[in-house]
Symmetry: C2
Subunit: 452 residues, 2 copies
């Protein structure tokens, strides 16, 4: 709420807009980018330095990080990021879901332009997923400060809680609460150590009883933007610098339990077994068959199988496994699931096993706002960067918030399309490009939206 | 070494032999058993009481026990059993592999008649596997004491260390060391908590540097007998009371690692995945196909799959799984494994995965001594019990010791053929019958062997 900064958004925006290049096709722009492109406002070196420091929290010997949402490692990283926010002059607050907001006042009474990402990771994940969008957002603020640029809209940098979700089996937890799609029903979920989500929120300094205070009221946000690595091979393989996200695929996740009968692996004849792991193996292959049956970009995954009792000399009596399906079209997900269930029932009959599945995650597809997509596209072109429109196969927090405000996402290339793995990497130049596009998009939105 | 007991083995044995029934076919004997059979010397109630007390160590709420070899729970149970041995007047010692021996002196300078079993269990196992043979052996000593019966041979009750083996992936550990097939090479194996086998032996009060002191010298044993539950359905389903074991199947066990590539489950197209869990699923089904391909009693099992990183939203990059094959014929095991490896190589090619397997356990088939089988058969018939000759599908400690001395095993029925599960159960009458057969077999062997 620092109102002492001078009001000159128009002049800044017009400065910026002078750099907008004429769109002359991909080939010409790629050439421009290869020859250095247009100058960047953001400080690429400062951004890289901060990202490298952040990657020390939960760093693994094989590279990358393990920084689960709701862990001491993530708590330490949050402190580091909050310090960076404060250094950038942001007014920091943490909501009841543990989401961190850093506010920079606007010059007018307008809804907030919100942008940011997350800093939690999957187990043995990479150090770019989430971190680029989070520290890129802080870099945008630093750049505005350096240029003494003010905005009409208040700006807020956000760090969402537990985006990846393996800890409690809920992806996009913080943004889901903020969007009002998750509520107190999640508080009693227990992790493997027997701690509930409520226990963890208390460790994060929050009162779980007030969880719904984290809901963001409709009308308070002007837009939500998120910079992120693509996590897939498209941009990297086609040598395109910026992905303009058309929408985020929906995701539905089930926890399945196959119950057979644990028995002695030496004395039980092959034709007398009720092997839950054999049934789960068939089920995994059935998921894959069904997902591959029709053309399209839909995906399906079984990420683990937990067999009990889990000894080499005992036939597994019980197996837990998750099924995850993703597509831009929720109807496709439902159709695939119907078919998968038929296949599971057939396996149950063949194997003398009973398999039951319960939904543990259901995130609807989220489309980007067309005008926000245009702003991102133009911001990239003004920087001399090539763009491609594309869906996001990964779930993102911005998708949740798209229920409340116009949403847009900026993708930068992932080397070899690898993510959620130690080899996850994005070229520092690509990271800087994406952050510059975020910077220019924020200024452009600030000018265009709620124009008087 | 109590030599004060009087010498009257011959009279006792001839008393017993008077009760030998004429073998008039299964139908007649079943009828005899149903009408009460011949009188038993052993105290069935005392035996049941002790078994019920033992089942309290590691008892699970769902029934049965978890009493892993090398665990605090097993240490407590060992103390209980050693106290029972001392109460029975046995001279107790523990060897360098943790095997417990309780000695009762003989009246002559002869090799030892050894009998006993184990008290460790698989995770979520039953409370009869091993315990019946261990406490049955102690009951035999109590019965001898009650009847003031002396033997020519010294008798030793044995409790073998870590028969089940899930803890360090080595079955029949204590008996394997005693038989000289396992040595100091096993000491550095680490468990999931990072403790080595040497560390555990120290906790058991042993000096790992002296492990090979536990080897039993050839010529020091007259015979090895083991009473055990069948752990399979044959006796229970055919209503036969005593199984006379012809031999113990060989077992070979491999640990396999399938290495694919961990990647984002949302952004990685189905045709670009190197899913190690999908490969492992195919491998499990291949093991089953190969084992089922030819007739015979051979079995093959994959007891678990550990996927890494193991999150619902990450394609598994690495999966560990065991393969276990068992048969009475070692050549059949080798032939199956060759075929399985071909199938694994094919899966690797199809899935872009690399699977490597290493042998972690290799136990040769062990045949029972024909004259010991005859003694058991006659002991059963003398008690009015029906018998069936059968192989053992499960590995047993007695199989290891068969390398040093004539071996025999006595099986009692397992309800519904269930073992290694909480539902594991043997009727108390069957347990008492088996113990009586053990008692009579010991006396008969004592008379027949090394006869002057």
């Amino acid at each position: 709420m620092n109102m002492s900064q001078c009001l000159r958004p128009r002049s800044i925006f017009s400065n910026t807009s002078r750099t907008i290049a004429v769109w002359v096709g991909l080939a010409a722009l790629t050439a421009a980018a290869a020859s250095g492109g247009q100058s960047r406002h953001i400080n690429a070196q400062r951004l890289q330095g901060n990202l490298e420091k952040l990657s020390e929290f939960g760093r693994n010997p094989e590279g990358g990080v393990t920084r689960l949402g709701f862990s001491q490692t993530e708590m330490d990283a949050r402190t580091y990021v909050m310090d960076l926010m404060k250094e950038a002059g942001l007014q920091v607050r943490v909501d009841a879901a543990g989401n961190i907001f850093g506010r920079r006042a606007g010059t007018a009474q307008l809804p907030t332009l919100l942008f940011g990402s997350h800093i939690d990771s999957v187990p043995h994940g990479g150090s770019f997923d989430g971190s680029v969008g989070t520290l890129g957002a802080i870099e945008v603020i630093r750049t505005l400060n350096d240029g003494r640029v003010t905005t009409r809209h208040p700006l807020e940098v956000v760090v969402w809680t537990n985006e990846e979700g393996p800890h409690f089996g809920i992806s996009a937890l913080g943004s889901g609460v903020a969007a009002g799609v998750l509520g107190p029903e999640i508080l009693d979920r227990k992790d493997e150590e027997g701690l509930t989500l409520a226990d963890w929120l208390r460790r994060y300094g929050q009162d779980p009883a007030h969880l719904t205070d984290a809901r963001i009221a409709r009308g308070t946000l002007a837009a939500i933007l998120e910079l992120h690595i693509e996590q897939g091979p498209q941009l990297y393989e086609t040598k395109v610098q910026i992905g303009v996200v058309q929408g985020i695929v929906g995701l539905k996740r089930w926890k399945c339990i196959a119950t057979g009968f644990a028995n002695h692996a030496g004395t039980t004849p092959m034709n007398r077994r009720k092997d839950a792991l054999a049934a789960a193996a068939k089920d995994l292959l059935a998921v894959r068959d069904v997902v591959r049956e029709e053309p399209g970009r839909q995906v399906g995954t079984v990420g683990y199988m937990k067999a009990e009792p889990g000894a080499p000399n005992v036939i597994p009596g019980r197996v837990e496994f998750p099924v995850e399906l993703r597509d831009l079209d929720a109807a496709t997900i439902e159709r695939m699931w119907q078919h998968i269930q038929q296949r599971f029932a057939q396996t149950d009959k063949e194997e003398g096993v009973e398999t039951r599945c319960a939904v543990i995650n259901d995130i609807a597809p989220a489309l980007s706002d067309p005008s926000v997509q245009s702003v991102i596209r133009e911001a990239a072109r003004s920087t001399g960067l090539s763009t491609a429109d594309m869906p996001s196969g990964a779930v993102h927090d911005a998708g949740e918030i798209s229920r409340l405000a116009p949403m847009g996402m900026i993708f930068v290339p992932s080397r070899d399309g690898i993510s959620h793995a130690p080899q996850e990497f994005s070229a520092w130049d690509d990271v800087a490009n994406g952050t510059e596009v975020l910077y220019r998009s924020i200024l452009k939105l600030d000018k265009q939206m709620n124009a008087r």
